[in-house]
Symmetry: none
Subunit: 203 residues, 2 copies
DNA sequence: CTGTTTATTGTCCTTTAGTTCAATGGCACA
DNA sequence: TGTGCCATTGAACTAAAGGACAATAAACAG
């Protein structure tokens, strides 16, 4: 059973916390934090961010709560190590959902904020190649269309034979495209290919 | 009861879909879509995005599935109207979570991808997310300690020979552990292993 | 028209991966 | 003291992957 700890000033607390998690602790500081698995921290000023950062150093899950949801505060909270960002007056069912997602190593954001954040950040992502396992650059845009098609299917777990069937070419051709993809991306085999493809950010 | 519909080519389907939602329809096109409340659509090429956009015009919830998670594809999918973006080999517990979040008008993104997006704007170095070994390795918990050790090294791109050297055992023993790990996790080879491990947050 | 890139395929070969059939020793639990 | 699980290894095998060394054809730029 996950032990939840809510940290917030006495005058900014919600009965929904206890409704969602009947066994939860509710406190005004972090003194009890060792007994908790999941800490919900109300963010108001910079001091709270300091606490958030130090709590995030531990292996415990930290969820930031806010009085007013803003994209910028969400970004800061997540950057400081929070696994979730939610309004402090969220209804119990939402709180439970947040807890579930976070417990599963996920990250939680409200839909609107998420959309906003994703659309904003992803668009500003430069097409910078990420580093491959051996330290050299990897850039999927170097691949021809066929090489990319083969690489994607291979990286999805297909065998050469399956890729060949799907693209209606021979297995030999699959190997050819794959080989040149390996060379261009500077990886040694299909497993490293899937690692760099899932680690890099550009299709 | 929510009716789920999974749309994907016959050769890129996962038994986990039916495991997560026993009453789900699984189809290769969108003909049955009127009967569904929640549509899971595998994205491969531009045609799939066209379909996604038209499905998103309806009031139904659309979740994009991918062979390889990338920031850019995620952005496009969400922009096109998807409410979630998830790897097609995600384990049932993750699929259920996605469905729950989406059903509650939320939006779902994998934690790694999300953190990547967040950090893209925040140029500072974050407190690295401590990925506890007792997190959500639903599948991985079935493995013995040696099987897990081998599986993790293999999923990091090591060959059997390298794993053998590292663990100071013979290559034959590596194969033994790996074979039983395949059986327990119900995957057919090392590439699917790395896919399900990364899809379930195990690495 | 010529050189280049891309896509396609072939054969032959070596190396990895993975399975099937085992066996041995340790350790915990009833 | 069995019984079962785990770790370890072996031999022999099939299948898959990947490289070496090619060729042919289409598309395209200069």
């Amino acid at each position: 059973m996950t032990q939840h700890l809510f940290i917030a000033p006495a005058d900014i607390q919600s009965p929904r916390w206890q409704q969602a998690f009947p066994t939860a602790f509710i406190a005004q500081d972090a003194t009890q934090f060792v007994q908790a698995d999941c800490v919900w921290l109300l963010l108001r000023d910079d001091n709270d961010f300091v606490l958030l950062r130090s709590l995030a150093q531990t292996s415990k899950k930290i969820i930031a709560m806010t009085l007013i949801e803003t994209a910028e505060q969400a970004r800061q909270a997540l950057e400081a190590g929070a696994s979730g960002y939610v309004h402090y007056l969220a209804v119990p069912v939402v709180l439970e959902q947040v807890a579930q997602v976070v417990a599963a190593n996920g990250m939680w954001l409200g839909a609107d904020l998420m959309r906003q954040l994703v659309l904003a950040t992803a668009r500003s992502l430069p097409a910078t190649p990420t580093k491959s396992l051996n330290g050299t650059k990897v850039d999927l845009s170097q691949l021809t269309s066929r090489e990319l098609a083969v690489a994607q299917l291979v990286a999805a777990g297909k065998t050469n034979k399956e890729v060949a069937r799907e693209l209606d070419i021979t297995e030999r051709t699959v190997k050819a495209h794959l080989g040149s993809a390996f060379e261009k991306l500077n990886v040694r085999d299909r497993l490293h290919l899937v690692l760099v493809m899932s680690a890099s950010g550009g299709i």
